[in-house]
């Protein structure tokens, strides 16, 4: 059931006001957030003021967006004018945004009510939501487990019922992996379909703002609201963005679903079995399974880390303590010394590692064999997917190799952590849309997720396939720390 439509119906028929609904959510957050740490900033006055405006609109207008009056939350790397946008980093702890992100403005224009800002890994770099300065977020299914990252706060909030929907950001799987860990839905849109203006950038050619919701229908509603060309983001495409929500039918007869063995090689048996049950479902409904080959997929992770680190090191040059952000309070002898001390004190070790690696890969002696090579390989991988989509409409894979890991999980090597991104990073590399949704539970009752990837601007196909599965096969999801959406 769509929570957005459920609440929208209650609001439009006057059974509840937006102010009342918002207060209910604020009470839930007060009760559950101390256990989950999903929110790092709760904004009751801001939310109630917005909700009151929505109540005025709802009392006067007959035709309103389904989003009018419905509360939501934002990842704290999305700018909202006048509010702190910290990216959970000491570097931006007191930074006040001077404008609002376009995607957020679009939601506000439709009457969305913002409850607060959610927890993330520092600067959205990480897979477990445990590197930010406000402490780790927790998984509502097991408080000793990670909600995933970097949009762990978002996933935790939606899963626990303390946010009907959220906006996260996805650079290398940062909405889909937490969606898999927490049993919710997330869409990484086609690169260029949602404006990045106002997203505090990590890696410019990978970043996308992404809806995270409890159902596929909700995801389609939110995507329809935020997509579109924006003059402020030169990489957004001018095209006719057909609404996807009205076309959800669940009809998938004849749909060609591609399967690549490479995506299953790194996943657990439980995950693979769960995803294969989804394959069986699709076949039973008349879809056709097609084996696809992606010859360069084995290079996807190294390519992602070379190019990602290179872009990060370039983008993070802006954090120098001069124009904004943290500035050292230690004595310094000159500007360079001031900047060095500021960056050393203000940035976490994960960030520093990627900056250092980026500079290594971009240095004169290494540029050709790493950055240039990875850029060419990226192009080859785009070609692999393009060829695959000549024979299939979408590709099905696991989202994450396993269910949620423990909060104190420490990989033996730094690289071991990267393999968690094996299924999700390719979509960012190639700019492709990818939808993650829950497909089962492991033996401990933790959610498992599957991913549908499609060609550029195929969000409608992905949503329809996801909707078909969800309405008949959605696993029974009961987080131990959470509330129902019913009110």
């Amino acid at each position: 059931m769509s929570n957005i439509l459920y609440y929208s119906t209650l609001l439009r028929t006057g059974k509840i006001s937006s102010s009342e609904l918002t207060k209910i959510y604020l009470e839930r957050i007060e009760k559950l957030n101390p256990k989950l740490n999903a929110y790092i900033k709760i904004l009751p006055e801001y939310a109630i003021a917005q909700a009151k405006k929505c109540d005025e609109i709802l009392s006067k207008e007959e035709k309103v967006s389904p989003l009018t009056g419905v509360p939501m939350a934002l990842k704290d790397n999305l700018s909202v004018l006048g509010l702190n946008t910290t990216c959970c980093s000491k570097m931006l702890e007191n930074f006040k945004s001077t404008f609002t992100a376009t995607a957020v403005t679009k939601l506000f224009d439709k009457g969305a009510v913002m409850l607060g800002k959610t927890n993330l890994d520092e600067f959205a770099m990480g897979s477990y939501c445990n590197t930010g300065i406000y402490g780790p977020a927790r998984n509502p299914y097991d408080l000793g487990k990670s909600p995933g990252g970097s949009s762990g706060g978002n996933a935790s909030a939606v899963s626990a019922g303390i946010a009907p929907y959220t906006l996260g950001t996805d650079t290398g799987g940062s909405t889909r992996q937490p969606a898999s860990y927490c049993g919710i839905v997330a869409l990484k849109p086609t690169y260029g379909s949602v404006s990045r203006y106002g997203l505090l950038t990590l890696a410019s050619s990978f970043d996308q703002i992404a809806p995270m919701t409890s159902t596929v229908t909700d995801c389609a509603i939110v995507y329809d609201a935020i997509c579109g060309h924006d003059p402020e983001d030169m990489m957004t495409f001018k095209r006719n963005y057909e609404p996807t929500y009205p076309k959800l039918s669940g009809e998938i007869k004849g749909l060609r679903i591609g399967i690549s063995d490479d995506f299953f090689a790194t996943s657990s048996t439980e995950t693979n079995d769960s995803v294969m049950k989804a394959v069986d479902f699709y076949v039973s409904k008349g879809a056709e399974i097609v084996k696809v080959k992606l010859p360069h997929i084995k290079y996807a992770l190294p390519i992602y880390y070379i190019l990602g680190c290179a872009e990060i090191s370039s983008n993070f040059g802006r954090f120098d303590g001069i124009r904004y952000g943290y500035k050292t309070s230690l004595p310094y002898k000159d500007v360079d010394d001031m900047i060095t001390k500021t960056r050393t004190e203000g940035l976490g070790m994960d960030i520093k590692r990627r900056i250092m690696l980026g500079i290594y890969f971009l240095s004169k002696q290494n540029y050709k064999e790493y950055f240039q090579k990875a850029s060419m390989m990226r192009n080859e991988l785009i070609g692999d997917f393009s060829n695959a989509f000549n024979t299939c409409d979408l590709i099905l894979s696991p989202t994450s190799p396993t269910s949620a890991v423990s909060l104190d999980f420490t990989p033996e090597t730094i690289v071991e952590k990267y393999y968690a991104d094996a299924c999700v990073a390719p979509a960012n590399l190639c700019g492709l849309p990818a939808l993650a949704l829950p497909c089962g539970l492991d033996k401990n009752g933790m959610p498992l997720g599957m991913q549908l990837m499609g060609p550029n601007f195929s969000e409608g196909t992905l949503f329809n396939a996801g909707y078909a599965f969800e309405r008949e096969c959605s696993p029974e999801l009961n987080p131990t720390t959470g509330v129902n959406y019913d009110i």
């Binding site: 190294p302 124009r323 001031m338 070790m349 290594y360 070609g383 690289v415 990267y418």
Partner: protein, 95 residues
């Protein structure tokens, strides 16, 4: 394996300093990642075989200059600035 000399040079470019233990840990991590990244060297890409679709100029925004952000807004996160400039105050050892 990244050498100490390479590491120190990169840290200088990055404008980040590390303690001795941090340097050793970071060098170990970086070496692991570089080793992982070396996988791309296995691939043959003398000439790319796939030509990405070209993006029509119609699909991207026109190059129209917009209004500049007001100076006071730009300075608002830096402590106000001085005469429209960002300021880095002297803060030497004797101050």
């Amino acid at each position: 394996m990244i050498t100490r000399e390479e590491f120190d040079s990169i840290a200088e470019y990055a404008l980040i300093s590390f303690s001795e233990q941090e340097s050793l840990d970071m060098m170990k991590d970086m070496s692991e990642v570089i080793n992982f990244a070396n996988k791309v060297k296995e691939a043959h890409t003398d000439l790319p075989t796939y030509k990405s679709r070209s993006i029509s100029a119609e699909e991207l925004r026109e190059d129209i200059p917009g209004e500049c952000t007001p100076v006071d807004l730009l300075l608002s996160n830096s402590g106000g600035g001085e005469d429209g400039f960002f300021v880095i105050k002297r803060r030497g050892k004797n101050e």
